[in-house]
Symmetry: C2
Subunit: 111 residues, 2 copies
DNA sequence: TATGATGCCTACCGACTCTAGGTATCACTA
DNA sequence: TAGTGATACCTAGAGTCGGTAGGCATCATA
């Protein structure tokens, strides 16, 4: 991982994928680019992390996939958020917020 | 895990332990209590998570340990942040801040 | 022609947290 | 006095997940 890239914590990748798909259908490689772009280059998801994650997420029914050809003429596998996936995204965002809040409390402690 | 407890993400436990020790020497069981208390009961560290984590952290030289008797008359193993540990805490807090910032950016995206 | 970007995938590793057990002491209560 | 819950330590094993490293194909560009 490049020196300036923030490393992902286990459990955050799913949320990032779901979030990027909530903005519209995307193929795998595009998810990586979207996350990198939206995070101002701070987050770099490795392909070896993404594809297994997509598989897991699809198994859980949070996304649906189909092969298609995009405007450049290349084939790619497009993923789309399902209704369940959208709910899951909300759940994960809420958990994230709780965790950030809790950790903030601990860090503010000065006793 | 109780329904209202936020689950820990892998990688956050070290920071919480180091932070709680930065407020003063503590024994293992006390670390759990301090984290729970400081987080307003939102974070509950399991013993099976804590003790191995303390061992790892001690191996890395971030804390030093000694057996002692505390005011209640009971024996306990007291942990103290080392200079290296304090540096590590700063590093981990900075990483955490970067990650939170990056994820916030992604989540704010609306395209 | 070759290199880099795009696009997909898998196998294996390493790190970490949790569950579930075990042991012992102490205070309190039925 | 027997039992229970809190305090205090520990370990083994399982499961999850992200990263590394590899492979393959296409396309544009140098």
């Amino acid at each position: 991982m490049a020196k300036e890239k923030a490393e992902l914590l286990q459990g955050t990748l799913d949320m990032l994928i779901l979030k990027s798909l909530s903005l519209g259908e995307l193929h795998g490689y595009g998810i990586i680019q979207r996350i990198r772009q939206l995070s101002d280059e701070m987050l770099n998801v490795e392909q070896g992390s993404l594809y297994p994650a997509l598989y897991r997420i699809e198994q859980k029914g949070w996304v649906s996939a189909r092969w298609d050809v995009h405007e450049t003429g290349r084939e790619a596998k497009f993923y789309k958020l399902t209704r369940t996936g959208r709910k899951q995204l909300e759940t994960q965002e809420a958990s994230w917020d709780r965790l950030v809040l809790a950790i903030t409390k601990v860090r503010q402690a000065t006793i």
